[in-house]
Amino acid sequence: MIITKKALPRRTVLRGIGATLALPLLDGMVPALSAIRQTPARGMRRFGVLYVPNGMAMQHWTPTGDGTAFDLSPILQPMAPFRDRTLVLTGLNPGPGGGAHAGASTKFLTGVAGRRTDGAEIESGPSIDQLLARELGRYTQLSSLELALDGRDFAGTCDAGFSCAYTNTISWRTDTTPLPMENDPRVVFERLFGDSDSTDPAVRRARLAEDRSILDSVTEKVAELERGIGPDDRRKVDQYLDAVRDVERRIQRAEEQSTRDLPLLQQPAGVPSTFEAHMRLMFDLQLLAYQTDLTRVVSFMVGREISGRTYNEIGIPDAHHPLSHHLDDPAKIWTMSKINTFHVSLFAEFVDKMRSTEDGDGSLLDHSLLLYGAGMSNSNAHAPVNLPVMLVGGAAGGLDGGRHLTYPEDTPMANLLLAIMDKLGVPLEQIGDSTGTLDVLSV
């Protein structure tokens, strides 16, 4: 249990708390967060990605009708209350290559197919969430947060010929550094609030100073080790140094902001036992991260590609991946679509909370841009065309929702990545196989 200002007497800790998992409801925490008022007048933009695996039952995803007069499909029904903030996009292509499943997760935010390798020299391209984090993360303690629901504690191979590093993540810090996605809420909590078991500013400051001095010493050591290292071997050392620099920057930021009061919080004890509870808890942490401005960029993988998760809670005992190979049987496609709808409904709960959270002169949803989608469309054929994607949020006045937009064949998904960068104020010329910034018919 974490209390501001000082630790509880030991006996109090044990009374009836045990190891609860849920965070308290988040209304009522905002008054303590003065940092929110310090935002630049333009509106502080947040970015979030939600990735779902194993494609989509496109027959039940694609809305009928175009422009503003479209009907929400069965899978998109849960988004009905937020229709005015939702843009459904049809016809975007991630491009070929990179493996059936490995390509799906790798290309989604990078536009670049991963290099075909069992493990030596994995390579893709930087992902837009990390490109945004480099800019937006200058103002926050954490440049970005990567969340997932699947752990990596399994043996075996992933997509044939492609290292598991490709299917385990959608975020690439550089073209050779895939980022681990954290599935344990307790660890995410610690990443956000540190492991000092206390939100007492003095204790946290001491902790930060300790880490900083250790990192300084370590950097000297690496410089010594680097002498006599050839270009082939630099890659890992550079990764290490990059990590050191990032953590140092975070410490510096944290020290600058260490006088801020943090809300009363219970640390989650671990991974919840049901999928729903897990997903809701991760969303709560994401919301908290936005609210406390600890980060403005969050990417969340609902499941790893080739996920074999079963969804017994909605009556589906079959593993997701084999079910996604439905052989064009309408009954199986309908069953799979229930999984897709389930994911969207949990996402809609999150969107609702974003909408009800005050953020300066609007709501968090008004100032955010959320990308929801899958890296392939027809799962049976691993089709890398016409991805199911939607943009949700106001992007601080930059996005007009309530429309279904269909793009001509061969429009690269990477063009949407450029549009997103543009909306968030970090324009980019080119990424992956992009041919120009996508026009999303908004401001």
């Binding site: 630790a7 030991r10 800790v13 044990l14 045990g18 190891a19 059936a100 069992d118 493990g119 030596a120 440049s143 990567e146 990596r152 504690d153 399994f154 043996a155 191979t157 044939a160 010929g161 492609f162 290292s163 598991c164 385990n168 550094t177 895939p178 681990p180 954290e182 344990d184 307790r186 078991d197 300790e210 250790i214 010493s217 370590v218 000297e220 690496v222 080790l225 006599g228 290292i229 050839g230 082939d232 890992k236 290490y240 990590a243 050191v244 990032d246 953590v247 004890a269 074999g308 079963t310 017994n312 079959d318 593993a319 084999p322 190979h325 052989l327 049987d329 049976n380 054929a381 691993h382």
Partner: protein
């Protein structure tokens, strides 16, 4: 260097046949390793081989078509060394019988064998002439398991690192100790900083800043009707034995919660039962649960089925909802690892009446089992509530070898301590500069908080040092790029210990390396045998085998409870234990690697024996049994493997066949093509077909047959094992047909037939194990120039019937393990 020359000589000797007796000829060309001086026989054979290629291969693999990127008409079969990479691929396909593809004309077995033998000999000869040891990563990060073991061996403290560090990515081989995928990210570094702080504080015995609660949960489906652990007393049932670390001497509290229905009623409260809490075997408290319902209070109807608004009397409700409120005890404990045992006293009576089937799903969720057994749902261990001192733990004894009084004594002691620990942590002799760096941190903390706290901060710095987190191998300065050099003794010591123990070298190994004695082959062999006999070699079972046999996945499989109501957590645990004990016996008894597939024994306890249909086994303890019927035997009969290669509600011959191909035969199938057309659900006449018949359609379509023809039959042979490894003779639709036929013509029936096929020619099996083990040992994937090494090791091991130690020693002595190529 002597060692390099020895390796070369041994390789040459291997080719000429001195050290490697050929296995019994099966059509292999006699005297395959002829010296090149006698020309006529060689060129006649070469012409014959060229003819074979032209006749069976070049139709597709030519310059114009370039099928699979291969143009065999342009390759010179007389000069194999010019295209070793391609020829190695050819050999692999030929050995697998995958090429020519099914349906195309193939050479007869003798001709094919002759070509394979010729190519392999030439490739081995080329490798001997120009040895390429390959290049391991210069900075190879420790993975999570290695980090945990390193901390254990350095500081004598067992910390569960899975809560402190993220899991590592596995590469395509399925191993998570491959240098290339062990990247470093800011998130990871953050965790290293945090882990270093926690671990160093624990090792030194610094009291935690606040009391914490550690919760141990027991899954619902772990049935608590029998004794569950060797650490719990005889005559007990259920509960859990926890190996808990008490950070300091002091008072701690334990709180128990009992298992409930989904409406929160506690189960099994009809009769009084004793619930004991023990610490290191000593009884701390005995609770009585159950039998305390107020006598006249009306209970909820037994057919309650969770339907509100039915309730019992309020007094009854209160009892059944709150009976475990007071299961809490506070007691003093000494610092260190202790076994906390929570268990019921077992009552030896059987329920009367008609035996009920095991319940799953909703009935299980609502059943209060009023007259049945209560069960523990979680144990919370909290503390320290008071701190009496750091205590006398193994880690404190390890860290604090000297206890200084004050002043100069302290600095000298600090210096000695940090030098001693840094030597083990960095795996090399330490310099004054190394110690000075650590001393700076010691001094800073010592000023405000004393000697022990100073040591703690220095340890914290040590655990984040790149030379702890990475295994560093640097090229010597005076060697040309692309040349091969023998790795240093220190590097060799680390390679040995990370291979066999997944941990840092111990003092004995490190001393030998520092003295320069590890280069000697006899010394190495002695060390290897010592290390294999050491308990730390269990890491080989946990890590290599856990990933090769996928036993790590047993923890996360979720068999469908409707299809398999008998699957419970007791069985899950038993699956894991069986495989661990079995492989440990192969390694420990130094048995043949072939026994992995063809053993006539396994390890079972009562739960597993019941699942397998083996009679006469009682109790929770695992014991070795000889298998009378040969259905099971070897890993292909292990519940663990059979379950992880199935889906939650059905078997998959494809997944199982793929596993056999990849992990026993070394011929993994390529990726499926992008546009897999749908298979019709029904047969030609519209009748429903069996699972097997559906898959048979794979083979009618030539596009699919290329991969599925060699793969599916292997899985069909195992169809008698259902999705949780139980034996069956029919599935939902039809009797099981477990016969199979491979494109090579081989036919077999059932698991024993498959086993016989695999061990009739054990070479592919041994080679595959050797390949996997070599990749695991090197921490890099194998390249084409490593295959001659694999062949050599396999050949040499044949003399000892492929004993495990021969394979391991073969790997240790091999070129890529002993030497390294410089960068370009």
């Amino acid at each position: 260097m002597t060692r390099g020359l020895c390796v070369l000589l041994m390789t040459c000797a291997g080719i000429v046949g001195l050290a490697s007796p050929e296995p019994a000829a099966r059509g292999l060309a006699q005297g395959a390793a002829q010296p090149p001086t006698t020309s006529p026989p060689v060129s006649a054979r070469v012409t014959a081989h060229r003819g074979v290629l032209d006749r069976y291969c070049v139709t597709c693999h030519n310059e114009r078509l370039r099928t699979a990127g291969l143009a065999l008409d342009a390759m010179d079969v007389a000069r194999v060394d010019g295209g070793a990479e391609v020829w190695e691929q050819v050999v692999r396909k030929l050995r697998a019988g995958a090429m020519p593809p099914p349906g195309r004309p193939r050479p007869d077995a003798d001709t094919a064998a002759g070509l394979i033998s010729y190519l392999e000999t030439q490739l081995d000869r080329a490798a001997a002439a120009g040895p390429m040891p390959g290049r391991t990563e210069a900075f190879h990060r420790l993975n999570r398991a290695e980090y945990q073991n390193a901390v254990r061996d350095l500081l004598a403290v067992d910390v569960d690192v899975s809560g402190l560090l993220p899991a590592d990515d596995a590469d395509a081989h399925g191993f998570d100790n491959m240098a290339d995928v062990l990247t470093v990210s800011p998130a990871l570094l953050d965790r290293y900083l945090s882990a270093a702080r926690k671990i160093s504080r624990v090792a030194v015995g610094i009291a935690p800043t606040a009391a914490t609660i550690e919760t141990y949960r027991i899954p619902l489906l772990l049935y608590q009707d029998d004794r569950l652990s060797e650490d719990l007393p005889f005559g007990s049932r259920g509960g859990i034995a926890i190996r808990h670390r008490f950070p300091v001497d002091g008072d701690y509290s334990i709180k128990l919660r009992l298992q409930r229905t989904y409406t929160d009623y506690i189960r099994g409260l009809g009769t009084p039962q004793h619930l004991d809490v023990r610490v290191d075997g000593r009884l701390v408290r005995r609770f009585t649960v159950g039998g305390g319902a107020p006598p006249d209070a009306k209970a909820v109807p037994a057919s309650f089925a969770g339907n509100t608004p039915l309730f019992g009397d309020p007094e009854w409700e209160v009892y059944v909802l709150e009976a475990d409120n007071d299961l809490e005890v506070t007691f003093p404990a000494r610092a260190g690892h202790r076994v906390v045992g929570v268990s019921f006293e077992r009552k030896l009576w059987q329920p009367e009446g008609v035996l009920q089937p095991r319940q799953t799903g909703f009935p299980l969720a609502i059943n209060e089992r009023w007259d049945g057994n209560a069960a523990v749902s979680s144990v919370e261990i909290g503390g320290p509530l008071t701190v009496d001192g750091p205590g006398d733990t193994a880690s404190r004894r390890t860290v604090f070898a000297c206890h200084p009084n004050r002043g100069a004594d302290e600095v000298r002691c600090a210096r000695d301590t940090l030098a001693r620990l840094a030597r083990r942590a960095y795996r090399r002799p330490v310099t004054d500069h190394d110690v000075d760096v650590l001393l700076r941190f010691y001094e800073e903390r010592r000023r405000t908080e004393g000697f022990e706290a100073g040591i703690q901060l220095a340890l914290q710095r040590m655990l984040v040092d790149p030379e702890f987190i990475f295994r560093v191998e640097r090229d010597p300065v005076d060697i040309a790029p692309g040349a091969a050099y023998p790795v240093s003794d220190l590097a060799l010591a680390s390679r040995l210990s990370f291979f066999l123990w997944s941990s840092i070298p111990d003092d004995e190994l490190l001393d030998l390396a520092i003295r320069g004695e590890l280069a000697d082959a006899a010394v190495q062999e002695r060390q290897v045998r010592r290390m294999l006999a050491d308990p730390r070699a269990s890491a080989l079972v946990d890590n290599f085998v856990g990933q090769w046999l996928l036993t790590r996945n047993v923890a996360t499989v979720t068999p469908d409870p409707i299809a398999f109501p008998t699957f419970d957590e007791n069985l899950r645990a038993a699956f894991r234990r069986e495989s661990e004990l079995f492989v440990a016996s192969i390694i420990g008894d130094d048995r043949s690697v072939v026994d992995l597939v063809d053993a006539d024994y396994t390890y079972v306890n009562e739960r597993l024996a019941r699942h397998y249909g083996i009679t006469g086994v009682y109790g929770n303890r695992f014991r070795r049994v000889t298998l009378r019927d040969r259905r099971r035997g070897g890993v292909l009969g292990h519940g663990s493997l059979l379950t992880v290669t199935s889906y939650p509600n059905r078997t998959s011959p494809v997944l199982r066949g793929k596993w056999v191909l990849e992990n026993l035969l070394g011929t993994p199938p390529p990726a499926p093509p992008p546009d897999v057309p749908p298979l019709p659900e029904r047969g030609r006449g519209g009748e429903p077909v069996s699972g097997r018949a559906l898959l048979e359609q794979h083979r009618e379509n030539p596009v699919c047959a290329g991969c599925h023809a060699p793969m599916d039959p292997l899985g069909f042979a195992l169809e008698n094992f259902d999705a949780i490894g139980g034996w069956r003779t029919s599935d939902a639709r039809a009797p099981i047909d477990a016969s199979g036929a491979l494109p090579t013509g081989a036919q077999f029936e059932g698991p024993s037939g498959l086993r016989r096929l695999l061990v009739a020619d054990p070479e592919p099996l041994v080679r595959t194990v050797t390949e996997k083990l070599l990749a695991y040992a090197l921490g890099r994937g194998l390249e084409y120039y490593d295959y001659p090494t694999v062949r050599r090791i396999t050949r040499n091991a044949a003399a000892t019937d492929y004993r495990w130690s021969s394979i391991v020693l073969g790997i240790i002595e091999s070129l890529p393990f002993q030497m390294r190529s410089t960068g370009s």
